[in-house]
């Protein structure tokens, strides 16, 4: 277990180093920031000064090492456009994205699992069939379209919920939350549904098919033959066996919720890091783009690490230390 954790952590670090290299390469190869930062009326001396100031005159490996050292300390340099520390800008924007992603993820997991189990147990019921048909909509419609449809219905036609922004926020010092005000909660509903709908339907369909597969297994028959209650058979014996394959996909999906927040944040003008990223692309604000890239990859790698460790908690067959001889 410990060896496995160490090995996986080591692999994660390697992945992050590679992503770091890609992020860093952007500085070298995507345009010349000096051109953007200095106006038309620049002199050769200005350019040299700025180059030295930004450290661009140093050799490539030294720059990469400096970038990494900064990245580990959360220091990604200064935004070309806003002239402020990137870490500060991201820290300002991150709570909005994390709150949106967390609420979407909770919606997706709770409803995905709930409906998945329901449709598997009531396989031939009309309710299950209706849910399955509707879920096709969630899987096949693109996120931005769902967002626009929701805005049209609930903001334009019914005028129940705001169509953009985050509402009022409460400043907790290090975290500005929209979860504590009514307008903040209202503003959260549509983006959260938009962002979580695809993941929810995906998790639901996956849980359903895995559960149906498990319900065909011999040990489920045997559990029934032992006279266990249907509730016990479904939730104690079947659901746990369903979890293992579902957790992998769910974990990856949670990562992509944060990554795909870009689209939802753009549609709803949600002031999170996704929107920040889109804007920084328009201005070739490379420090922000690099920081965003690193941030997302850290989250992805972290979630995957947690997923791998979760397997251990659920599947005893992976405890290599004990006498796990198959046959």
């Amino acid at each position: 277990m410990l060896a496995f954790t160490i090995r996986r952590t080591f692999q994660s670090v390697v992945v992050l180093l590679v992503v770091g290299l890609v992020a860093f390469s952007m500085f070298r190869f995507v345009g010349d920031p000096v051109d953007n930062m200095l106006g038309q009326e620049r002199t050769g001396a200005d350019i040299e000064r700025l180059r030295t100031q930004l450290g661009l005159d140093q050799p490539f490996p030294v720059q990469y090492f400096k970038f990494l050292r900064g990245a580990v300390q959360g220091n990604f340099g200064v935004s070309y456009r806003q002239g402020r520390a990137v870490s500060g800008i991201i820290a300002e924007r991150l709570p909005a994205t994390l709150e949106l992603a967390a609420v979407s993820a909770i919606l997706a997991v709770v409803f995905g699992f709930g409906l998945g189990v329901f449709t598997a147990i009531r396989r031939d019921g009309w309710a299950a069939n209706t849910i399955m048909t509707l879920s096709l909509v969630g899987v096949s419609l693109p996120t931005f379209l769902i967002g626009i449809l929701l805005i049209y219905l609930f903001s334009v036609e019914l005028n129940w919920l705001p169509s953009f922004g985050r509402g009022d926020v409460v400043d907790l010092g290090w975290w500005r939350t929209g979860l504590l005000t009514e307008s903040g909660l209202k503003a959260l509903i549509l983006p959260a549904i938009t962002l979580g709908l695809y993941q929810m339907t995906l998790i639901m369909r996956l849980v359903r098919s895995e559960m149906l597969e498990v319900l065909r297994q011999d040990y489920i028959r045997f559990a029934r033959a032992r006279g266990l209650k249907e509730r016990v058979v479904h939730f104690r014996h079947a659901l746990k066996n369903t979890l293992i394959p579902v957790i992998t996909v769910t974990g990856l999906q949670l990562g992509s919720i944060i990554a795909f927040a870009i689209i939802t944040e753009t549609v709803f003008q949600w002031p999170g890091v996704g929107l920040l990223f889109i804007n920084s692309i328009q201005f070739v604000d490379i420090p922000i783009m690099a920081a965003y890239l690193m941030l997302i990859s850290v989250m992805f790698v972290g979630i995957n690490l947690v997923v791998d460790l979760l397997y251990f908690a659920i599947d005893p067959r992976l405890h290599v230390g004990s006498s796990g001889v198959k046959g």
Binding site: Y219, R221, F222, R224, R226, K229, V232, H237, P316, R317
Partner: protein, 324 residues
């Protein structure tokens, strides 16, 4: 009939399909007295397992019991509501499946699976259930049961797992055990141990056993009586010694002749020509007549005599010893 633990009367199982109704079990009747073992033999698809599943109430839809009666300890159970039938399973009828590698939940320790079954059926406290679980494992011959109780199924070998499965089937002390090919998936060397174990436990407790198998050798070793099934019908039923030495039905004769016996020094193994008919294409009258070496005109017109009504052993007009 009072002494019979299980009594099956004229059982008929149907599978309704879109434009026809299949009948995998038809007119099957037999009794199993307490402490006795009934061997049920036949080729694959003869309806042996289907009969077992019908008795324990685990037919997969759309298959269902369409006729006949099943009596367990004087109580009619084929028409019980779902919930009452669920309480009966495990408590009064235990079941052992074919493949021990897949019959145990891989994610729960075996002790956990034993305890949940015991707590479901017996009025005991949790510590008592834990003690009983260990006792149950000891009884089926798991060494160091107290230490192994929290092991997971994958930590046991196939034979050991089948012992655990038997412990699970017997832990609530049912009066009937249905063993559906309990040794088919095991090594030959382990088969005998498992059969001996099953036999010993049931003798000690007076449990009736319905042993479904296609292995005539296993039947000869363990059973008191034997039921031979073909295409969903019972073709011969009788005490094991008589059926083995003087098979009456032509199918049984063929089955006996195709059992390999090393002692006889046979060069070639006998076989019954042809194959079991498909359920949607059963021959008229006696289902065996197209393959029967003793077939006569009457066989394709009139079904064999009813085992019950004629009080005979074999459902054949021209059975050995039955006369015509």
């Amino acid at each position: 009939m009072a002494a019979d633990v299980l009594s099956v009367r004229n059982l008929r199982v149907e599978i309704p399909l879109r434009n026809e109704v299949l009948c995998p079990v038809d007119g099957v009747s037999f009794n199993i007295p307490a402490g006795e073992i009934l061997g049920v033999v036949g080729e694959s698809g003869a309806g042996k397992s289907m009969t077992g599943n019908a008795v324990i109430g685990l037919l997969d839809r759309p298959a269902h019991i369409a006729g006949g009666e099943i009596w367990l300890n004087g109580q009619r159970i084929d028409n019980l509501p779902k919930e009452a039938m669920r309480r009966l399973r495990g408590k009064q009828i235990g079941m052992v499946f074919q493949d021990p590698l897949t019959s145990l939940n891989p994610l729960l320790p075996i002790g956990e699976q034993l305890r949940e079954t015991i707590l479901e059926h017996l009025p005991v406290t949790k510590p008592q259930a834990a003690a009983r679980a260990i006792a149950a494992l000891e009884e089926v011959g798991i060494p160091a049961a107290a230490r192994r109780i929290d092991s997971y199924p994958h930590e046991f070998s196939g034979g050991m797992r089948q012992r655990v499965v038997i412990a699970l089937a017997l832990c609530a002390e049912p009066s009937l055990v249905i063993a559906d090919e309990p040794t088919t998936a095991l090594d030959v060397s382990v088969q005998a141990q498992i059969i001996a174990l099953l036999k010993r436990l049931c003798r000690e407790r007076g449990t009736a056993v319905m042993l479904v198998t296609h292995d005539m050798g296993v039947i000869a070793e363990t059973s008191d009586s034997v039921a031979v099934m073909y295409a969903g019908r019972l073709c011969e039923l009788g005490p094991v010694r008589e059926v083995m030495t003087h098979p009456a039905h032509p199918y049984t004769i063929g089955l006996m002749a195709s059992t390999p016996l090393a002692a006889k020094g046979q060069k070639r193994l006998n076989q019954i020509p042809g194959a079991m008919p498909r359920l949607d294409n059963l021959p008229t009258a006696c289902a065996f007549h197209p393959r029967c070496p003793q077939v006569q005109d009457r066989c394709s017109v009139e079904p064999g005599p009813d085992l019950e009504a004629c009080g005979g052993r074999a459902a054949c007009w021209f059975a050995n010893g039955a006369g015509s």
